[in-house]
């Protein structure tokens, strides 16, 4: 998938997709992603097996992440160049949102 198509499909990004991509800057398996995201969000975002499995399938199919190896039946995934580009665009959008909320709080 090319970048413009990926941007159209993923931005604005769901919290699930955002945190999976963010987490996969370090290669990890599904369960590891859940643990890391839970830690990053102080337990607020607690993703289930079905959600992670499904999201990984979608992200892998669109080339935003890729499987890099397999450790006893568990697949290890990592973000791709395309995934990093999309994540960066989303991060910029969030930064803009953040700037625009100043003065509200």
């Amino acid at each position: 998938m090319d970048l413009s198509k990926a941007v159209k499909r993923y931005i604005p990004m769901s919290e699930t997709m955002f945190y999976i991509l963010l987490s996969l800057r370090d290669p990890n398996h599904g369960y590891g992603i859940m643990q890391q995201v839970k830690e990053l969000t102080d337990g607020r975002v607690n993703m289930g097996a079905g959600t992670i499995y499904q999201s990984i399938g979608k992200l892998e199919g669109d080339g935003l992440i890729t499987q890099i190896r397999e450790e006893d039946r568990k697949k290890i995934y990592a973000i791709t160049e395309l995934g990093t580009q999309v994540l960066t665009i989303e991060a910029k959008r969030i930064r803009e949102l953040y700037r625009n909320t100043e003065g509200l709080l």
Partner: protein, 179 residues
């Protein structure tokens, strides 16, 4: 000897995935346990009486699962109960909060859509069967006797009745897709 109970056609009675999960959970809460689910469980399921258990059931549909599907669910603490065709049954014992497998609305809807798609495929197949029987009936009309014609009509009526049921199921799953 332990008490057992037989349940017929449970799959066809609780067609919305979330309702089927709740049904399993209610059985467990009343002490009726499912040991193992296999291909034929959709027709006939045997439950065994024991102590009440608090279980969360998850019903999922995967047409072509990746190699890590089972491993990932198991790593999250889900027990594989079995599968009927492409639908997978998972469960997990819990005490406080009812665990979820689909934790965001997008995933919940995607799960419902997979079930709806499976039903739709069968709906199309049964509709084609009706069409084929009607065509067969017309084309062979000159050479068939009453008995053979009746077979065509009965076959078509049965397939049509099932197709209507599948259409109802499909609509019901889609209406409840965010559950």
């Amino acid at each position: 000897m332990r008490d057992t109970k037989k349940v017929w056609l449970s799959v066809f009675r609780y067609v919305v995935p979330a309702e089927y999960e709740r049904w399993f959970e209610a059985q467990e809460a009343n002490g009726w346990h499912v040991d193992k689910i296999g291909q034929w469980s959709s027709i006939l399921m045997t439950l065994k009486k024991d102590k009440p258990r608090k279980y969360r059931y998850v019903v999922d549909m995967q047409f072509s699962r990746r190699k890590d599907y089972i491993a990932m669910y198991e790593q999250f603490g889900w027990e594989y109960v079995g599968q009927m065709a492409s639908s997978y049954i998972w469960r997990k014992e819990y005490t406080d909060e009812r665990p979820e497998s689909f934790t965001d609305p997008e995933a919940v809807e995607a799960r419902s859509k997979r079930f709806a798609a499976a039903v739709l495929i069968n709906l199309i197949l049964f509709s084609l069967a009706v069409l084929a029987l009607v065509i067969g009936f017309i084309v062979t009309f000159g050479e068939t006797d009453m008995g053979q014609r009746l077979q065509f009509v009965l076959g078509a009526a049965l397939c049509a009745a099932f197709a209507v049921y599948l259409w109802y199921v499909w609509r019901k799953i889609l209406r409840n897709r965010s559950k």
